[in-house]
């Protein structure tokens, strides 16, 4: 038992030690060209990276010592101490390898988090942190080396020159896990000469997607084709792949309508079904995870748009929201006329028991709702937002009353 255990231990220790030594050596030999400003180790927010390396170095030394001790005890035939020493180096090595893995993962997560924070907050101030993190990772001996190399050069060249692009950053967690083999096959990458390959251009576009705001047409992430057809770029016309959600396309643009309250002949339902034929998640069942995610988000957004635009009250509120006006919904109102009127209507609804009287009340309330919505339209055209908000409040009350009537019917 002890002999077999010894062999296993040996193999394990040999593998782990070579790993850790390689890591230690690589740290020492490969130094990134320091510009003098950036520390070699960027300490990620919230944790100290330097102690990790220190522990790696010391752990490897202590491991070697323990290995020696183990061998010595074996020769001295001390079973009790043998088992104790047998276990600890294994555990030390586990820690070592786990440390290195953790450190790599930590840096990767760090980069991803910084990307996400920059996208969410739409500011570029974390850009230098990101650049150093990426550079750090570039010199990691990981399987994703190709991706990191390209990503870092991208970060250097593109983002530095176009900080505005950061506002539409579209990065996916999956992009960090594309293995280098696929990347090589896709782009025939030999070293850093990758700018001329179209697939890489796709990746380029994916990592820093430029939008119409920067003066060029949006391009498909998959085939690199530009958006040709008029209308919002939700799915590529050439290859059919679903595009990531662009929050600047508002609901009216999705349905090709003007930003008005009136939508006659909008054919909302027809257009809604057309979009779902292109964007529904069931259609991308066999495609990549990334595209599945895009499809889910895009179709959810189209559903939202359809529901908002088909109801007049929600449409009115959305219109005001687009203009930047938010009705303060938490305040209480004490308008005696409106409230007394609503009180009467609601009481009448409570008391009415047959469908005939309910229908009567319903038509009355619908008329009043129409009047309110006309007044909203007028106010909105004149950009008289206070009256518009007041009209919305009245519409809401009437809408509520209509709901109650419908429930009773």
């Amino acid at each position: 038992m002890t002999y077999v255990g010894g062999v296993r231990l040996y193999l394990g220790l040999w593998v782990m030690s070579s790993n850790s030594c390689a890591m230690v050596v690589s740290k020492g030999l490969v130094n990134p060209p320091s510009t003098g400003r950036e520390p070699y180790f960027v300490s990620p927010p919230g944790a100290a990276a330097r102690p990790l390396l220190a522990v790696d170095g010391y752990a490897s030394c202590s491991f070697i010592f323990l290995l020696f001790l183990h061998r010595l005890l074996f020769f001295l035939r001390c079973p009790f101490f043998f088992s104790f020493v047998f276990e600890s180096p294994c555990k030390m090595l586990n820690m070592l390898s786990v440390f290195s893995v953790l450190r790599r993962q930590f840096l990767e997560n760090n980069c991803l988090n910084v990307f996400l924070i920059m996208r969410r907050s739409k500011n570029c101030s974390l850009f230098s942190l990101l650049r150093t993190s990426l550079k750090e990772l570039v010199y990691e001996n990981t399987a994703k080396r190709g991706l990191w190399l390209s990503a870092s050069s991208l970060v250097d060249e593109d983002l530095h020159l176009h900080p505005r692009i950061l506002s539409n950053f579209c990065i996916n967690t999956r992009s960090f896990s594309i293995p280098v083999k696929r990347f090589d096959r896709a782009s025939n990458c030999r070293g850093l000469g990758h700018h001329e390959f179209p697939e890489f251009r796709g990746l380029n576009r994916f990592l820093c997607s430029s939008e119409a705001g920067s003066g060029e047409l949006p391009r498909c992430w998959n085939c690199g084709g530009a958006a040709v057809s008029p209308g919002p770029f939700l799915a590529c016309g050439l290859c059919g792949s679903v595009q990531p959600v662009d929050q600047s396309i508002d609901f009216f643009q999705i349905f090709g309508l003007e930003r008005k309250y009136e939508i006659k002949d909008g054919n909302l339902e027809g257009k809604y079904k057309d979009w779902q034929k292109k964007l529904h998640p069931d259609l991308v069942h066999s495609k990549s995870e990334k595209e599945k995610m895009f499809a889910a988000e895009q179709s959810a957004r189209v559903i939202d748009a359809y529901q908002t635009l088909s109801k007049p009250l929600l449409r009115a509120i959305y219109l005001l929201k687009l203009e930047g006006v938010h009705a303060d919904e938490e305040k209480t109102i004490t308008d005696p006329d409106l409230l007394a009127e609503m009180m009467d209507i609601r009481e009448a609804v409570e008391e009415a028991n047959d469908s005939h009287s309910l229908n009567q009340i319903q038509t009355q309330v619908e008329e009043k709702f129409e009047k309110c919505s006309r007044s909203f339209e007028q106010a909105f055209k004149m950009h008289d937002f206070d009256n518009a908000i007041a009209a919305i409040e009245r519409m809401r009350y009437h809408d509520r009353a209509l709901e109650e009537i419908t429930k009773k019917l």
Partner: protein
């Protein structure tokens, strides 16, 4: 021992999350007020000793009417009733408001805060505006009564001047 220390170092130990699973749903007091409504009704609006507070919340389209009957000599509220169209929390808040208001003086009643009502009913944050509505209803009722009294006072003075 070393593995344990390793785990602690790497922060991989399990975190025993003592997350209390909060029951979702209306608190039993709210349900009680909904099932056994108290003080529902209305008084005559034109009665001089009655003050009516009518408030609404535009966000949810709720309407709340709270009426108080005040004893003129002592200035105490002898009776109160309410009528609310809205969610269960709004109904319960106004019900609680009518209960608390009975037997108190008008100045005292103005100091009832929405936070107390919310705490009494354990309202979730999304329903806090219902308790706010109840507080506003109380204040509106008192204000209406004061206004009525002032108008009456003016009318009396006018008739006295006429008679004289």
């Amino acid at each position: 021992m070393l593995s344990f220390a390793g785990k602690r170092l790497l922060g991989l130990g399990h975190r025993v999350s003592a997350a209390a699973v909060a029951g979702r749903g209306y608190h039993e007091r709210v349900v009680d007020h909904y099932d056994n409504p108290r003080n529902v009704g209305s008084f005559d609006k034109n009665d001089p000793s009655v003050g009516t507070g009518l408030v609404g919340a535009p966000a949810c389209g709720d309407v709340m009417k709270l009426q108080i009957r005040v004893d003129e000599e002592s200035g105490k509220i002898v009776d109160a009733c309410f009528k609310t169209f809205g969610c269960g929390s709004a109904i319960a808040s106004s019900s609680v408001a009518t209960e608390w208001v009975k037997g108190k003086k008008m100045e005292e009643v103005l100091s009832i805060k929405n936070t107390e009502i919310a705490k009494h009913l354990s309202l979730p944050p999304v329903k806090l505006h219902c308790s706010m509505l109840a507080e506003d209803a109380i204040k509106a009722a008192v204000k209406d009564y004061e206004a009525k009294k002032a108008k009456e006072g003016n009318a009396d003075a006018a008739t006295q001047v006429e008679k004289a």
